[in-house]
Amino acid sequence: MKPPVFAYHDPRSVEEAVGLLGRLENTRLLAGGQSLMPMLNMRFVFPDHVIDLNRIETLAGIVQDAETIRIGAMTRQRDIADSALVRDRLPLLTEALAHVGHRQTRNRGTIGGSLCHLDPAAELVAAAANLDATIEIAGPDGVRTLSMAAFPRGFMTPAIEPDEMVTAVRMPLPQRGHGFSFMEFARRHGDFAIVSVAVLLVLAPDRRIARASITLGGVGAVPLRMVEAEALLVGHEPGAALFERAAETCRAIDALEDAQVPGWYRRQLAGVLMARALATARARAEGVST
């Protein structure tokens, strides 16, 4: 389990990195290395060139403007988890991060790396999708943005071209006082989830649901925004019966099926977790501590 032969590049700027991407064939970007390095060690991938982004200092950092928080692609998961700003304005992200791997992998793993690896079960992918994040992508013609909804092209395949790279993720700030919950079912703590769910609830002054975002991870090839369930909730008073009805939409999911986990079980887990997460989010929105 030793990495295969490759050529190594460690550019100092995004321009330099994009230049290398344009010039070289069969490249892989090395971010925190928590997914790529195991794949190299196990020789699941054989890149000719590895482009290490760890020496591009401008790629890390968390900044807030009027409506969003912008997190550089190379920001370590640990730094996001520790960020008071994120905890204050994007608590869903903080909660999701507690489920991401372990202390040692969060110390090194990055948000950009996790999003680009796009494992269907990855917590950050589900959280970003649920927060309506936009992805900043640098290429030969400059920077473009893509909504998280359009970011996955398919199973573990982001919609970025070979000469492009993700530089940041931008999360719109949900209204203060919103309710949120991130839950997952994994066989062991820190493992990738079998099913995860991210929920964000905004209550109107009349206590009705003004906004609902629900995303399931792990059940499909890409994170599933549960638009039907969201529509079902908006405009209604929150309650267990309503949440159960929302959760029932999970029965129709075309869930992933693999040797370890049958589809029926994923569907059931999805419904269970969704109802639970909605209840938690509601309690938080109503200021009840959970």
Partner: protein
């Protein structure tokens, strides 16, 4: 196989890294992992390899003070950085780090294979969280697999070390 031209920076690199306080320079193949660099080139074999795919935690070292998995880093990546391995924890040849003391006193190890990774992880953890609850300790080392002890004694050892370190400081 790609042939390597002499002086090809994309294939071989000279690196300089501070390991346990001493600057170590060497020429490495770019695909050499940090774990293998420490174990083979520097003969610091205390950093163990239990899986080489980032799950077991045996290879944990401190990179600029942070606990990371050495099997998931390339040696070239730590050029200019500072690394602490288990060999660098004890203050001297006769004195142990309080965590090492506590592991001995509380039977926190049997075969000792997971121990270096446990210790390095806990050194960082206790720096962040000097007065942890048992539950916090359990979460902190849930990414370190031990096949021998059943973990209980490791948690006990950690709590006792934390108390000693608080008293000592």
């Amino acid at each position: 196989m790609t042939s390597v031209a002499v002086g090809d920076e994309t294939a071989m690199r000279r690196i300089g890294v501070t390991v346990n306080g001493t600057l170590q320079a060497g020429e490495v193949s770019v695909r050499l992992t940090l774990a293998d660099f420490l174990r083979q080139d520097l003969k610091l074999t205390g950093t163990h390899l239990g899986c080489e795919h980032g799950v077991c935690g045996a290879c944990t070292i401190l990179l600029d003070g942070r606990a990371v998995r050495a099997c998931l880093l390339l040696a070239v990546q730590v050029d200019g950085h500072s690394v602490t391995t288990v060999e660098g924890l004890a203050p001297s040849a006769t004195v142990l780090h309080p965590l090492q003391e506590a592991f001995c006193a509380h039977h926190g190890l049997q075969c000792g294979f997971c121990t270096p990774g446990m210790l390095t992880t806990l050194v960082e953890f206790l720096k962040d969280c000097p007065d942890p609850s048992a539950e916090e300790v359990r979460v902190a080392i849930s990414g370190n697999i031990c096949r021998c002890t059943g973990y209980d004694s490791i948690v006990e050892a950690t709590l006792s070390a934390a108390a000693n370190m608080r008293d000592g400081s």
